[in-house]
């Protein structure tokens, strides 16, 4: 009888123990007798939300101030000091993040990924400069962009680039923008942030290749003024569209131009258009014929762009980690035995099978297929339009800032001898 009771208790104990151990940690927390008090885990709070809104407020104030300084006050001095403030606040204090240029990707991803929520700050950082530019020209570039400010302050001896080079290099931002939107829309990468050359300088630490890139941009910027803004900035594309049709814009002269030509060399960015020589244009007689040819060529450019996009989509999609991993595992199955490949080992250890990964990769590649063709077509259109633009005749009698390319830095204003 006693034996039976013993067995019963043992069984009960084992059953209870197994049941309990499924719900209990390996080494249960001890019950202390010495009055020990458990410390709390340290969790410092993130930056307060009110401070994020304060950044938006600062941006709004800086934008208004820049527009006022450029359009009303016409003061290069004021813009200069404002850009110093921007560099210190948005650059060195805020470490270059959040910025309007990168916000393109947040907005794009919020359209394409239903699970992605965009913060109000990011949306406002994207919208405010565009809205201001639509009314006042690119005053954002002049005074409110830390990337522009750092380049503007180191211009030493700007050289004037030939027009064809300016136009050709000016196509790069369109390529950069299309790729950034493509990669953001497919949820692959935020390339604008990843390859921001100046963020490492703002933070005073960067990976070696990014530091080299940043410093070389600055060195180049001493002679080719604002190289990033003119030939890379993807946000500059959108700003340039807005600025071309802005309601008001910086004017070199406060009243009537007296054709003194003093301002011609004042612009480091080659953004001043000279008066057109009507006689020369008429004499060449090539205008209408060339116009027709270039206009007909636009669909060809678009088709070529779509073709290139279609050809490159496989290659582009490899930037996506899922596509890359799936391809790697299919093309190179022995990599599964490589203990040093962390990505493959983690995938294998996670117990996931190949099918869902391949399925996911196929979906992403499909997105790239469509996206690359759209991007290619867009770039083709841009090339065609740029070519067409070179021969469109616009009558100009005065020296005027090119509304699309002018950064509203107000340098030229100081050169104009005309009094108000």
């Amino acid at each position: 009888m006693k034996k039976l009771k013993y067995i019963f208790w043992t069984v009960a104990f084992v059953v209870l123990y197994v049941a309990a151990s499924a719900q209990q940690q390996r080494f249960p927390k001890p019950e202390f007798e010495s009055g020990y008090e458990q410390p709390t885990t340290i969790t410092p709070e993130p930056r307060a939300l009110s401070l994020e809104y304060f950044d938006v407020l600062v941006l709004l104030v800086v934008l208004s101030l820049a527009s006022w300084l450029v359009l009303k006050k016409r003061s290069r001095q004021g813009v200069l000091w404002l850009s110093v403030f921007t560099l210190i606040y948005f650059g060195f204090y805020r470490d270059g993040c959040i910025c309007s240029i990168g916000a393109i990707q947040n907005v794009t991803l919020s359209f394409f990924d239903p699970a992605y929520a965009i913060s109000l700050t990011a949306l406002l950082f994207f919208l405010l400069p565009l809205a201001f530019t639509l009314f006042f020209g690119r005053t954002f570039c002049a005074g409110a962009c830390p990337l522009g400010a750092i380049q503007d302050l180191i211009i030493i001896k700007p050289i004037s680039l030939p027009k064809w080079l300016n136009k050709t290099l000016g196509l790069i931002p369109y390529i950069y923008l299309s790729l950034a939107v493509l990669f953001a829309a497919t949820g692959t990468d935020f390339i604008i942030c990843r390859y921001d050359p100046f963020v490492g300088i703002f933070r005073m630490e960067a990976k070696f290749h990014m530091a080299v890139l940043g410093v070389s941009f600055l060195l180049m910027g001493m002679f080719v003024a604002r190289p990033y803004c003119r030939f890379f900035c993807p946000y500059g594309v959108l700003l340039s569209w807005m600025s071309r049709f802005s309601k008001w814009h910086l004017s070199i002269t406060p009243s009537a131009c007296i054709q003194c030509k003093l301002c011609t060399n004042s612009c480091p960015f080659d953004a001043i258009d000279y008066p057109t020589n009507e006689k020369e244009v008429v004499k060449s007689g090539l205008g209408p014929k060339r116009f027709l040819v270039y206009a007909v060529l636009i669909p060809v450019w678009v088709a070529a762009g779509v073709f290139v996009g279609e050809r490159t989509h496989t290659w582009l999609s490899k930037a996506n980690p899922d596509v890359y991993l799936a391809e790697l595992l299919i093309s190179n199955p022995e990599i599964k035995n490589d203990p040093d490949n962390i990505d493959v080992q983690t995938f294998l250890a996670s117990g996931k099978t190949m099918e869902p990964l391949v399925e996911e990769a196929k979906i992403i590649r499909g997105k790239f297929y469509i996206g690359s063709m759209i991007a290619g077509g867009f770039l083709g259109l841009v090339i065609g339009m740029t070519l067409l633009n070179t021969i469109v005749f616009r009558k100009r009698q005065d020296y005027l800032p090119h509304k699309g390319n002018c950064f509203s830095c107000a340098r030229c204003v100081d050169y104009c001898p005309v009094e108000k």
Partner: protein
Amino acid sequence: MEKESKSKNRREFIQSGVRLSLAMALGSVSGLALSKVVKDDYVWQIDPFECTQCGRCATDCVMSPSAVKCVHAYDLCGYCDLCGGYLKPDSNALSTAAENQLCPTAAIERKFIEEPYFEYIINEDLCIGCAKCVKGCTAFGNGSLHLQIIHSICDNCNDCSIARVCPSNAIKRVPASEAYFIKGDFTKKSES
């Protein structure tokens, strides 16, 4: 003169027309985005249950040392003398001697409390987020040591460079009001 003013008028008309359509485009973009806008700010967070302690947090963060640190969920700790997170597997004594410590920067402090229990405290200033102790604690102990992004250090980059290389996609964007995921339980909450 009249001709000139006519062409000027036409140009202005086109200008304002395009301006209006650009404004409308901006408005529709903002309207579309507003439907998904969240007032809260977003921060990066590690899901400690997804983390595989690959060690990339230490090397790939834009901050150096990394903004990822080991945190200690004391509720889970067994206060073991033989701590898998503190001591090397082949350590020759259960002591604080440097050659026995798993942590490469000696960022874990071991304090005697009462027989046979020891408290382990992370010195955040020394921790580099290499996850060696996390690996040890998860393999041999309760898993009370785990990695987390410390938001007083994190720059909150738009594109987190460790999230990009995380092999198990353990790093996610979360609302700033729920910035920390500290293991409170040894099982994932959603399972219960």
